[in-house]
Amino acid sequence: MSSTRTMTVLPGRRARGARSLSRRSSLAGFLFAVPALALFALFAIYPAIQVFALAFFDYSLTSAPEFVGLKNFAYLSSDPRFLEATGQTLFYAIGTYGTALLLALMLAQVLSQKLFGAGFVRLLWFLPLATSWVAASIVWRVVLHPDGMLNELLGLDVQWLTSSAYARWALVIMSIWKETGFFLILFLAGMASLPQDVYEAARLDGAGAIRRFWSVTLPLLRPITLVCVIMAVLRGVQAFSPQKVLTNGAFGTEVINLFVYKTAFESARMGRASAVAVIMFIALLAIALVQIRALRRKD
């Protein structure tokens, strides 16, 4: 685009020299992308292709891969641990991210207004984002300790991290604490970009705050909601650190990512782990397509 426009501005430079210059600069232009493209080819595209191949092999790092056809998939389809991990991932993702999204949406509605102290309240909600997952998990290990903060405040005596009834909830509670601020940032940025005159018009028509939220804010926010939901799904299925640090997958908290990790690196079943990755990849693609369709349908 740039060269064609300047050519018409500068008709005198149109001759041979200019053309060879632009050819030279297009080669230079390509060279600027080479470092990134080379890194992508090697560390993203190549593994992404290879994961599909490895899924059909029995492979541990030290021995040669052995072709086993669909055996990895057949094994997984009847492996209770894999099915359990799938269910656990759904529980964790819906519990954490469903709640975090709703909370963030309501908070953003309040905190996007110019109210005294709103900036400080936002800061409080953002703060967990500045901590790392592992450090936050260690903090929560103490908070969830039988003599820890949560039991103390609620007057309970619950073994949060060492009972099958509560461990999955403990992880959800901790993750809501960690993640709500992330979606609050997204919704606040989204709301700031909404056209203000629509609100004025709705206000002049006598629409109350709740009415304006349902019939102006929410419909206008749909593209941002779509982004948030896709991000939430991606983050939900990638959960690893809190499960690894707090329970190591015990007491019914083994999520898919931890299952893949253990299968590949503790049981040295890299082919089987790759098969899980392939299933995840296809499932995520399907989920993303369904989400895009569902949220666009009403437009």
Partner: protein, 276 residues
């Protein structure tokens, strides 16, 4: 109008109460980190330390190779950030301001990888890094993370908004493509570059799974991996203040960066989702 103001005040009070609950977890952690080993916790015990044990900070460094983990995280975090800024700015420049066959295909391929979570890739990625002999090395920690699809997308968008006339003026002054990148493009998009740098650094400081795979040797562990290892070595309750102190020291740099650069940080996260 008045009723509305009351409603939003109630909303703000609720949001503030929630915010304080979020914050109280960190306050609790800080206070507990200064307690004496084995000091009573829970019902009837005070949150406030009976005696402030500042030596808990020193005990973190005695308990494991915390200083090594901290140094490794710094080396890896800074290297990954610098490399990302370079590769993403250069690629964004290439995709935005040049024409060559395959340009769009290259860009689309990069964007497509945004949707692939790490867990889909890391088994073959580990195999590759293992075959390259990069396990237990800085190369294995840094190079696979040296560029990012999000960064390239972000820089392309920012560079799209730099007017072509500016580039043409520099070209007429005899500047080559590289000079134009350094003296025209970079100053024009420095705000985006700093948001990207902050985002990459914070993300890398948090990175747990990949360093866990690549660095099994203690000398190459980064903070998340090292902390997790220290934590499982200190399961007893008497170790609680020290391991908490270690966790807090580990996030001190990112908390400081966040408090200093809150606007940039928020901008980076919003841009990560494609919301500006």
């Amino acid at each position: 109008m008045k009723r509305e103001r009351i409603a939003s005040s109630i909303g703000l009070v609720a949001a503030a109460a929630g915010g304080l609950a979020i914050f109280s977890v960190l306050v609790y952690a800080v206070l507990t980190a200064f307690k004496a080993p084995g000091e009573k916790m829970g019902a009837g015990a005070s949150w406030w330390p009976a005696e402030w044990r500042w030596d808990n900070i020193a005990r973190v460094f005695e308990a494991g190779n915390f200083d090594t983990y901290f140094l490794n995280s710094t080396i890896v975090g800074v290297s990954v950030t610098v490399l990302n800024v370079i590769t993403c700015t250069a690629a964004g420049y290439s995709f935005s301001k040049f024409h060559y066959p395959g340009r769009n295909a290259g860009f689309i391929l990069v964007i497509a990888t945004l949707m692939i979570p790490l867990e889909v890739l890391y088994v073959p990625l580990y195999k590759l890094v293992f075959d390259l002999g990069w396990t237990d090395s800085f190369a294995g920690l840094i190079i696979p993370a040296a560029t990012s699809a999000f960064g390239i997308f972000l820089m392309k968008q920012a560079i799209d908004s730099v007017p072509d006339e500016l580039l043409e003026a520099a070209r007429l002054d005899g500047a080559g493509p590289f000079r134009i990148l350094v003296s025209v493009i970079v100053p024009s998009v420095s705000g985006t570059i700093s948001a990207l740098a902050l985002f990459i650094f914070m993300t890398n400081w948090d990175s747990h799974l990949w360093p866990l795979l690549v660095a099994s040797d203690d000398d190459y562990r980064t903070l998340p991996v090292g902390l997790a290892a220290m934590q499982s070595n200190q399961l007893g309750d008497t170790g609680i203040p020290v391991i908490l102190m270690a966790a807090l020291l580990a996030v001190l740099p990112t908390i400081a960066l966040f408090l200093l650069l809150q606007k940039k940080f928020v901008e980076g996260i919003a841009m990560n989702a494609g919301i500006k």
